[in-house]
């Protein structure tokens, strides 16, 4: 019901367009012999892998599962289920040793201990959640750390330095996955295909040069709800289609909604799409049975997230001449 507002998405048409685009981009633009996709057991990577199989053929797609010691075992099981159905090879590489070598867990745990001195490494679990909820209040976006000791949970607001250190250390997971994906891509002369959707791409829910470091991003223009629509017409196991989107980054399970988006995807996408189509706040509120103030807060929150993460989407910047033109000479050799 909610997702139907302003929705003109045709999954079959989109699928055909994407299959052709992936084929042309990998073979003609990038001039690569095939592609690698990191499969997480989630809906986005499943849809991208299924599209890539159709675009490139089973023999030109390599799937990689890159778990670490804190990954949910369910992620790997679902990745196996997916590739079995698609008929493509799967390489599983545990990246725990690499992360340990980089000090990812140690650096992160150091910051967690600074907030919760009682935190017991490898025993307690924790997660980071965003406190705000644009539907019910006007809180400013604020990250909290939740420590789980047995059945007890306690949350504290994260101080700036500890927040930054936890995020920086945790981002090593996505960055090491990127490094591993490129190793396999380069040894086979393949391209790396990204799996981020529009919600992640536009609101900055990705790691620059981590999961955002890829050669192509086929579904970066699709709302999460549209990715689910596409999944219905692709050979994707029901178990993946029904799985709740998770970050699978922190020792404790945390949904993407809890960690960052703070709204059900059906509602966020409906409001976002209607706003994009020029519908008024009044009209959107009426159709969704919400107050105008709630719709306005949600739109403001989307804009704020997009604005504050703009740098994530920028390529490395070169020096300009003041008119926005590159100060360097043309990069093309005629």
């Amino acid at each position: 019901m909610v997702a139907k507002i302003g929705n003109v998405f045709d999954a079959k048409v989109e699928k055909q367009k994407l299959v052709e685009w992936i084929r042309n981009t990998v073979f003609k633009t990038l001039k690569k012999r095939g592609a690698v996709v990191g499969v997480s057991g989630g809906i986005d990577s499943a849809v991208v892998a299924a599209l890539a199989v159709e675009a490139l053929g089973k023999n030109r797609l390599l799937a990689l599962a890159l778990p670490e010691k804190e990954s949910s075992p369910e992620s790997l099981e679902l990745a196996h289920e997916l590739v079995t159905g698609l008929g493509v090879p799967l390489i599983v590489e545990d990246i725990t040793a690499g992360l340990e070598g980089m000090g990812a867990y140690r650096r992160r745990d150091e910051a967690v201990k600074a907030v919760f001195p009682a935190y017991r490494v490898n025993h307690d679990r924790f997660k980071i959640v965003l406190q705000s909820n644009p539907l019910s209040n006007n809180w400013l976006n604020l990250f909290k750390l939740t420590l789980i000791q047995g059945k007890e949970e306690q949350s504290l607001r994260l101080p700036l330095n500890e927040y930054l250190q936890i995020v920086a250390a945790s981002n090593m997971k996505q960055r090491l996955r990127m490094v591993t994906l490129y190793y396999h891509a380069e040894r086979k002369n393949y391209a790396v295909v990204g799996t981020g959707n529009k919600n992640e791409h536009c609101l900055g829910f990705f790691v620059k040069y981590g999961d955002g470091g890829t050669d192509l991003k086929p579904i970066a223009h699709l709302y999460k709800t549209e990715v689910y629509e596409l999944a219905k017409i692709l050979p994707i196991p029901t178990s993946i289609q029904q799985r709740q989107p998770t970050t699978d980054t922190y020792p404790a399970e945390v949904s993407q909604e809890e960690f960052f988006f703070r709204l059900p995807f059906s509602m966020m996408d409906a409001i976002w799409r209607a706003n994009e189509n020029g519908e008024s706040v009044h009209s959107i509120a009426n159709q969704l049975h919400l107050d105008e103030i709630q719709v306005k807060r949600i739109i403001d929150d989307l804009k704020q997230k997009q604005r504050s993460t703009e740098y994530l989407r920028l390529p490395p910047l070169g020096h300009t001449d003041g008119n926005g033109k590159s100060a360097r000479r043309s990069e093309r050799i005629n």
Binding site: Q131, N137, W139, N141, F143, L164, D300, Q304, S308
Partner: protein, 91 residues
């Protein structure tokens, strides 16, 4: 140095990189896009340390922190022991 000037100096130095370009004390941080979730943490940390106060989660709302005027009002009531604005809607 007044509360206002200390807050303003911090905001201009940290969020506007020393160039206020006519930035007014009533201008919304969020609407102008000069403060994000990391910036909020920086601001809270500055206020708590500089004015020796503890800011509760429920006080982290635009009415208290979204512009210099609001921060000054918030600090004035907080430092005088008056009741500050808090979020009243339960989650």
């Amino acid at each position: 140095m007044t509360i206002r000037s200390r807050v303003r100096d911090f905001v201009v130095e940290n969020f506007l990189y020393g160039e206020d370009n006519g930035f007014k004390d009533r201008d919304s941080f969020r609407e102008l896009g000069i403060i994000d979730s990391t910036g909020i943490l920086e601001l809270i940390s500055f206020l708590e340390q500089t004015f020796n106060i503890a800011i509760e989660d429920a006080e982290v709302i635009p009415e208290n922190l979204d512009c210099i005027d609001n921060i000054v009002d918030f600090l004035t009531s907080k430092l005088s022991g008056a009741k500050s604005k808090k979020l009243e809607i339960a989650l």
